[in-house]
Amino acid sequence: MSGDLRDLYQEVIFDHYRRPRNCGPLADASHHAEGHNPLCGDRVTIRLKVDDGIVQDVRFEGAGCAIATASASLMTEALKGRKLDEVEALFRGFHDMVTDVPASASPDLGKLEVLAGVREFPARVKCATLAWHTLKAALARRPQPVSTE
């Protein structure tokens, strides 16, 4: 039984798909990585400026479907001004939410919760997590492009 389409395609998601925030290059980035979803060929690049353990700026390029693009856009909004340990907590919280793992100590995900509907569509979880896995690779300074496979 598939979930309700409207839970997946919420208005906020269409809004971020049509008008993605923080989309474009970022000069003087301190961290960057490229992510790839081999299932559909989508690619995303995440660039961050981290200073003093705080995400000063973050931008993305690429993505693809409505879910992947909106997720990347919402992620960049959620990350700005966050300390790196908060970023890690957000990653875990987001991941648990979309993979339907009961979160033990869930942080306040705020607007990111519009993507909770993805857990009813297992084929689309990778779309929602592409930007987040790429973010993790960027912060870990892993040189190889990350893959959702």
Partner: protein
């Protein structure tokens, strides 16, 4: 809605898709509250009851290893396994069942030819010619053998319609060309290649040809004798048979000259630690206990297709393709990827402002199963400047009602994304 579909599926050529549809139990399933509309046949086809019954009959009635036992069940299993090989040979119009090698599928068959036929013959500077619309399974095995031998891959371009560029192909054939490996039908675009001319032109230059028939065998009549190709590969699961089984047709003179692909039981005549003698064709290429149920099931599937009539299927699907092309062409913002003059039942498309994945999810919610993505043909996607497409692909049991459900689904996608 159901009545309407039943009326619509009687096509002018008299082929009764509704009658055949009833042979496929999965097509009675409901998906997300809707009747299943299965339009992902290029990925895999559904199985008729007779194939399912054949698998059950083997496992429930005469499961045994082949070519081994003196007992009754082993003889029955061997007889059924070899009868299926004869069925494959007859279906492809191959001169003898000895030229039919069971494989895991098309991919396995192509790898067999790459490693057993091409690899020993290739030296640095030699060339293998493929086309720009090959599935990854007819690209990567050749890249591997090129890396092993120092040979190079040459790629025949396709035009913006997805047509094989014959003039460019002719200029690529030369003294260094050792093999041509080309698809019969493109899985991403539906283009039917001019395979007779491709083979004839290669043979004029003394170059053998492998044909990837994965997308052809359930849609078009195939006659390897008339075609005169050197190798023809296909998969059982794309012709209503089980997964994990397929076949390679090869000309006997090639197969006899080729070393075994894998070593093990069944492919030998005698083994000592000093010298092993290999078995005759086709067993030389079938090491280990094979996919017995799969082979027998594939035979049943081919019998089923032959019973429907491959010519009638071909006509039915062409009419369905023409109807689908006309219907989806009328949708604003829809671009058909692959508009070759000669096409088999595939409509690959993009929708303006909507990613193929979103199209796939929304259609699925209405019970319409299509493929969304790069279709294991990333170079094709690159040529058309898209990351992926949505692809509807037809089989003998599809009807105009299925196309109407697709069109209604696309309309829903567009309303959601407006």
């Amino acid at each position: 809605m159901k009545m309407e579909r039943e009326v619509l599926c009687m096509l002018p050529n008299g082929f009764d898709a509704a009658r055949h549809r009833a042979d496929f139990p999965v097509l009675r399933e409901r998906v997300n509250g809707h009747p299943l509309v299965y339009l992902d046949n290029a990925a895999t086809t559904q199985k008729p009851q007779c194939v399912i019954d054949t698998l059950v009959a083997y496992y429930a009635g005469y499961n045994a290893n082949v070519h081994r036992g003196v007992h009754t069940l082993s003889q029955r299993a061997t007889d059924a396994y070899e009868a299926a090989r004869a069925t494959v040979a007859q279906f492809l119009h191959a001169p003898s069942p000895a030229g039919i090698i069971y494989t895991r599928g098309t991919t396995d068959a192509i790898n067999l030819v790459a490693q057993s036929f091409a690899r020993p013959r290739l030296v640095p500077g030699d060339e293998i010619v493929i086309s720009a619309m090959e599935h990854h399974s007819n690209i990567v095995p050749w890249q591997l053998v090129c890396a092993q031998t120092g040979a190079a891959l040459r790629v025949v371009p396709i035009d913006d319609a997805g047509e094989f560029q014959f003039d460019a192909y002719e200029t690529m054939l030369g003294p260094r060309t050792k093999l041509v490996a080309v698809t019969h039908v493109s899985n991403a675009l539906g283009s039917v290649t001019p395979i007779e001319r491709i083979v004839a032109r290669a043979h004029a230059a003394n170059v053998p040809v492998l044909v990837d028939g994965a997308q052809a065998v359930s849609h078009l009549p195939v006659d390897v004798g008339a075609l005169d190709c050197d190798f023809y590969a296909f998969s059982g699961h794309k012709i209503f048979g089980p997964t994990g089984i397929g076949a390679l047709y090869g000309k006997t003179e090639h197969l006899e000259a080729m070393p075994p692909y894998q070593g093990g039981g069944d492919m030998i005549r005698s083994v000592t630690f000093e010298k092993t003698e290999y078995n005759d064709l086709p067993y030389k290429f079938e090491a280990g206990t094979p996919n017995i149920a799969g082979a027998i099931g594939m035979g049943a599937a081919i019998d089923y297709v032959a019973g429907c009539g491959i010519h009638a299927i071909s006509v039915h699907e062409r009419e369905l393709l023409a109807y689908a092309t006309e219907q989806v062409s009328a949708i604003p913002g829809l671009r058909i990827i692959g508009t070759a003059k000669d096409k088999a039942g595939i409509v690959s498309f993009t929708l303006h402002g909507v990613h193929a994945h979103d199209v796939g999810t929304i259609l699925d919610n209405e019970g319409v199963a299509i493929r969304a993505g790069h279709h294991c043909a990333m170079p094709v996607m690159e040529q058309f400047g898209v990351a992926g497409t949505a692809r509807a692909s037809f089989a003998l049991y599809n009807t105009r009602g299925d196309v109407d459900a697709l069109v209604a689904g696309i309309d829903h996608v567009q309303r959601m994304f407006r």
